[in-house]
């Protein structure tokens, strides 16, 4: 891609030129400069800290679940406690971690950069979304103290109506988190429509932006239905209004319809941005334009639309109408097609590229492998007769962990590794990062392949105890979880270490060409030195890779001098 920003040969620049402005990290300091910031990058980083913390909590809960299942009678907890632990694992991972993970943290940081914009369209709403996320999270934590929740993250009625646990506060937490998600999505749609750089047509938008766009549409249209559902659930729990309670004439299956009308699109709210990240990472680290760009862009949109038509495949055994099931199964099959297109396109992009086995690329390759497993096993579950057998077994558990954890979470971490030098101007220890990527890939498969197996054999999910013949699978799975845990702990360790003493990142660490790599490293407060204009192709690695010579970090003396001269931080 060519822009009006001069490109500098990395061999001769030497990184000695000074920035024009201080980076967004240095432009102001103090707690309030973060908590009250309207800068999309700082908001993105605050989300990054928040969702990573949620991931660690959720991960610890998952590990407790796995440890508990070491023995058939349950090694750690009473069943009641076990039910709370797996429910909290689900709620934390789904509502607090995965849904905001990529859009709200990476999306916030990267999207305006990719669009050549100084900020998102609605910075105040963006900050408000963050505080809604905080409020929702606090409500969720409050409900743990207040008796936890033992309904599973799906809150199926009527169990969720009669359980004595804190369903109301958790429901309100989910309601608030939902609105955080809605406002983030709404903000991104407006940003993509109204804030693109001059010359950046829709088809010159990086695929990450397409993915975020498709995601945002889902967030805006599907989440309100979840909102009204948990609201009704809360009313019902307190006042017995009866809409979902058969005792009072309600229909529990209707709750499932409402819940999955949101929660199936929510699955794509989780995975689509991950696909976007992977598209960018694969392109940059293969130094090659995305193969089949338009088809990938359209497949994102078509996945988003189809996702509204298939929610009933979560309910094949629920007693819904057989005729509706046929329609849902038929439509479900169409999800497989755009998904397959994406996988083929990614592999075709790597084919013939200049493939760097960097840490982000290793995470992306791990994503590709696990996502393929997740996608293929999804077809089993969309097939009517086979799903009757597999529904609510560990096969389902393993399938959605392949898509959620093995794919979305890995894509999230691929993206974090990819944009880390841009975010902080420092690099992590890449050797450790590669080790951790391999550990996670191995750990994932050791954890979840046995779960596919025992699901096929008929091990139902959400069991605090189980029959002895499944013990060996559970034990292998627990060992895998330990490997996963080591991989993630290592990752958190070297990432934090890089902030304390990592080497300075290069101006363009990976040789990216999209607009996000045309900013100083780390970017300015308003991102660009000059308003960018796109003139060339989107992923053009042949016309010179931008290496922003002016972005070498300033040392303290230079900073003070220029602050005095130009009146920064007055």
């Amino acid at each position: 891609m060519t822009t009006n920003i001069p490109t500098v040969d990395p061999a001769t620049s030497g990184g000695v030129e000074l920035r024009k402005e201080p980076s967004y990290l240095r432009v102001s300091s103090g707690l309030w400069s973060w908590l009250g910031t309207l800068d999309h990058k700082r908001i993105g980083l605050m989300y990054l800290v928040g969702v990573t913390a949620a991931f660690l909590v959720g991960g610890a809960l998952a590990f407790l679940v796995r440890l508990h299942l070491w023995t058939p009678d349950g090694a750690l907890f009473e069943p009641a406690t076990y039910n709370q632990v797996f429910t909290l694992h689900g709620v934390f991972m789904v509502f607090i971690f995965i849904i905001p993970a990529i859009p709200a943290s990476l999306g916030n940081f990267v999207l305006p950069l990719m669009l050549g914009a100084p900020d998102v369209a609605l910075p105040r709403l963006n900050l408000a979304s963050f505080y809604l996320w905080c409020t929702g999270t606090i409500l969720a934590i409050y409900s743990i103290i207040n008796g936890a929740v033992d309904t599973g993250w799906t809150f199926y009625t009527p169990y969720s109506l009669e359980t004595g646990t804190a369903v109301v506060s958790m429901g309100l937490g989910v309601f608030v988190l939902g609105f955080s998600s809605i406002f983030t999505g709404l903000n991104f749609i407006v940003t993509i429509h109204k804030m693109r750089a001059r010359g950046q047509t829709w088809f010159k938008m990086p695929l990450f932006c397409w993915a975020i766009y498709a995601t945002s549409v889902l967030q805006v249209l599907a989440t309100p239905v979840l909102g009204v559902t948990v609201l009704l659930l809360a009313f019902e729990h307190i006042y017995n209004i009866g809409i979902f309670d058969p005792q009072y004439g309600g229909d529990p299956v209707l709750f499932q319809h409402f819940f999955w009308f949101y929660s199936h699109p929510a699955v794509y709210i989780m995975i689509l941005p991950g696909m976007g990240v992977i598209s960018e990472v694969i392109s940059v680290h293969s130094r090659k334009p995305l193969f089949g760009y338009k088809l990938i862009a359209f497949s994102s949109i078509s996945i988003a639309v189809i996702s509204f038509l298939v929610w009933g495949h979560h309910m094949f055994t629920s007693g819904q109408s057989e005729f509706v099931m046929v329609a849902f199964s038929f439509l479900t099959m169409f999800v497989a097609i755009p998904t397959a297109i994406k996988v083929f396109s990614w592999v075709a992009t790597i084919w013939g590229g200049s493939v760097a086995l960097s840490a982000p690329m290793l995470y992306a390759i791990a994503f590709l492998i696990i996502f393929t497993i997740g996608g293929l096993t999804g077809v089993f579950l969309g097939t009517l007769s086979v799903d009757i057998h597999l529904h609510d077994t560990y096969f389902v558990v393993a399938h959605f962990h392949a898509v959620m954890m093995g794919s979305t979470a890995l894509a999230f971490f691929a993206g974090v590794h990819h944009w880390w030098p841009k975010m902080f101007g420092v690099m992590y220890n890449e050797t450790l990062a590669k080790i951790s990527a391999v550990l996670i890939l191995v750990g994932f498969n050791v954890t979840f392949l046995p779960q596919f197996e025992m699901g096929s054999l008929g091990m139902p999910r959400r069991y605090a105890t189980y029959v002895e013949e499944f013990q060996i699978y559970h034990q292998i799975s627990t060992v895998g979880a330990a490997i996963l845990g080591i991989g993630f702990a290592l990752m958190v360790g070297y990432m934090l270490a890089s902030l304390a003493g990592g080497r300075r990142a290069k101006a363009n660490e990976w040789g990216g060409v999209t607009l996000d790599w045309h900013t100083p490293t780390p970017p300015n407060l308003y991102n660009f030195d000059e308003e960018p204009v796109m003139t060339g192709d989107l992923y053009d690695y042949t016309s010179g890779i931008p290496d922003y010579g002016k972005d070498a970090p300033m040392d303290k003396d230079e900073l003070a001098e220029r602050q005095a001269a130009e009146g920064w931080n007055a």
Binding site: Y24, V27, S28, G30, W32, S33, G36, T37, L38, D39, R42, E162, I189, H193, L221, A222, V225, H237, I238, N240, P246, Q247, G249, D251, V253, L254, H257, F258, F261, F308, L309, W311, G312, G319, Q320, S321, E322, F323, V324, A327, F328, L525, Y526, E566, G567, W568, N569, A570
Partner: protein, 142 residues
């Protein structure tokens, strides 16, 4: 906040005088005509409703009531909300939601309407759909 205030150095370098080209004030007469039409349709809604008029329209009554309401809603949206003059994208953003909403209606309603009909030998649909919990003792309230 503080980020932006420290950045005021860039100054107000762009001044645009008057900026009314996105305003399309419609005529007051049109607004009044629409208002009158809305009142008329409200009267119509009431006049054809069974509890008021005693008309027996049967299953068509729901359809007619919703049709009249849709006409009223369309008038409000097109004129009062300026959708008629608004950008295509704003139209899509708002009216698109109705398409997705209709999916929720379509699938949930067709589920409830056809539940239990695939297996006529098992039981009659009426029996199948009949709630059975009243056979059991009601539990105490919360």
């Amino acid at each position: 906040m503080s980020d932006h205030s420290t950045h005021g150095a860039h100054g107000h370098d762009e001044v645009v005088v008057d900026h009314t080209h996105h305003a399309h004030p419609a005529s007051a007469g049109l607004f009044f005509a629409i208002y009158a039409a809305l009142l008329f349709f409200t009267f119509l809604t009431v006049a054809i409703a069974e509890p008021v008029s005693g008309l027996h329209l049967g299953s068509a009554s729901m359809f007619i009531a919703m049709l009249v309401a849709s006409v009223k809603a369309s008038l409000v949206m097109a004129v009062f909300m300026h959708l008629k003059w608004d950008t295509a994208m704003n139209n899509i953003a708002f009216l698109g939601s109705l398409i997705f909403l209709s999916l929720l209606f379509l699938f949930t309603i067709s589920d409830v309407a056809t539940r239990g009909q695939a297996d006529p030998a098992a039981s009659t649909p009426a029996e199948y759909q009949q709630p059975v919990f009243h056979e059991y003792e009601h539990k105490g309230g919360h």
